[in-house]
């Protein structure tokens, strides 16, 4: 996959498919520590040890419609290629945690890419899930907890056009603020540039900037 955010989306989709109702998603970027980490923890049905052991095998899947399961295999490969690794821990009835690490400056590390789109794709999922999202870039952090958003929205679903617009704007703003004043606003190495929307970097400190919290 061309972007790490696509791997992230895939991991989140796995969690939704596993019947999770809550996803804890963390991205940690540190150029000083030369590391980039993606983590998705869910409260889905979990996997028995033998399945967890073979989950990264592309010919293993729980699905009945076909016999391939490429997702984890692809992420594992992407991590290994960048001197990183993929760790998976799972417990039946408790959930699964997947953590993929990459060497930040590795020449083969794909750019993070469109994180907002990846998160939005999950927030618009037909099976509603709560997302507890944290994105750390060095010592800055952007966090969004959809449980708080849902509580305020009451019966209005996140897929409602107005709620959707709010989510997009909030996520865009948060992600942009994270990178303000950085030498490399894309968070990528010099060979990669993330396709951030034009003009986004100069976004004013608007109403939604308050969702950024030290965390």
């Amino acid at each position: 996959m061309r972007e790490l955010s696509l791997h992230l989306l895939d991991l989140m989709e796995n969690a939704v498919e596993a019947g999770a109702t809550r996803l804890d998603v963390t991205i940690e970027e540190s150029q000083s520590a030369d590391s980039l980490t993606l983590e998705v923890r869910d409260n889905g049905r979990g996997m028995p040890p033998e399945l967890a052991r073979s989950a990264m095998d592309p010919f293993v899947t729980t699905r009945k419609t076909r016999h391939l399961g490429m997702g984890l295999a692809l992420t594992n490969q992407a991590a290994l290629r960048c001197d990183g690794r993929l760790e998976l821990t799972s417990q039946v009835g408790q959930g699964t945690a997947v953590r993929a690490t990459f060497r930040h400056g590795h020449i083969d590390r794909a750019p993070l890419g469109d994180v907002v789109g990846a998160l939005l794709a999950i927030l618009l999922s037909q099976r509603p899930v709560d997302l507890v999202y944290r994105h750390r870039v060095e010592d800055r952090c952007f966090a969004l907890d959809t449980r708080e958003v849902r509580q305020l929205l009451g019966p209005v679903p996140l897929t409602h056009p107005l709620a959707r617009e709010w989510l997009v704007a909030t996520l865009r703003e948060g992600e942009t603020e994270l990178r303000l004043g950085m030498d490399d606003p894309s968070g990528s190495s010099t060979t990669h540039r993330d396709p951030l929307p034009k003009g986004a970097v100069s976004a004013p400190h608007g109403a939604r900037a308050e969702v950024i919290t030290p965390c």
């Binding site: 399961g69 969004l144 907890d145 305020l152 965390c215």
Partner: protein
């Protein structure tokens, strides 16, 4: 975690959204995008962005949702369009460049785009 202004925004949004929710349930449009590994690899996330942008351009309000893989991986990106009282139609290979034509035909003109449709389900009785 959400600070004051966001809270106010969301409260206002809730009031506004609730007002038209009953109407929407009866006349609404729902667009469902396949977002499994196969869909993601075929560009479903970009298709989602294109659909959202096109809906905005056409000034059409619709619920946009994502689902996992349904097994027709080679036909991704798959997009289902459902309008109240009409069959739910599945379209295959909906790459970003096809989105404007698809929405224009199906949502604005109300006609099926035969060459991309792979199936339909009759609408569920309310």
């Amino acid at each position: 975690m959400l600070r004051l202004k966001s809270v106010e925004e969301l409260k206002k949004l809730r009031e506004e959204a609730q007002r038209d929710m009953t109407v929407r349930a009866k006349t609404g449009t729902r667009i469902v995008i396949g977002m499994g590994t196969c869909g993601i690899a075929a560009g479903a996330r970009e298709t989602m962005h294109a659909i959202l942008a096109e809906l905005e351009r056409l000034d059409i309000e619709a619920h946009v949702e994502t689902v996992g893989c349904i097994g027709m991986c080679d036909k991704e990106p798959l997009v289902d369009i459902e309008q109240a009282g009409m069959p739910r139609v599945s379209y295959a290979g909906v790459t970003t460049d096809r989105v404007p034509h698809l929405l224009e035909e199906h949502l604005v003109k109300g006609s099926l785009v035969q060459e991309w449709a792979v199936g339909w389900l009759d609408s569920q009785p309310a």
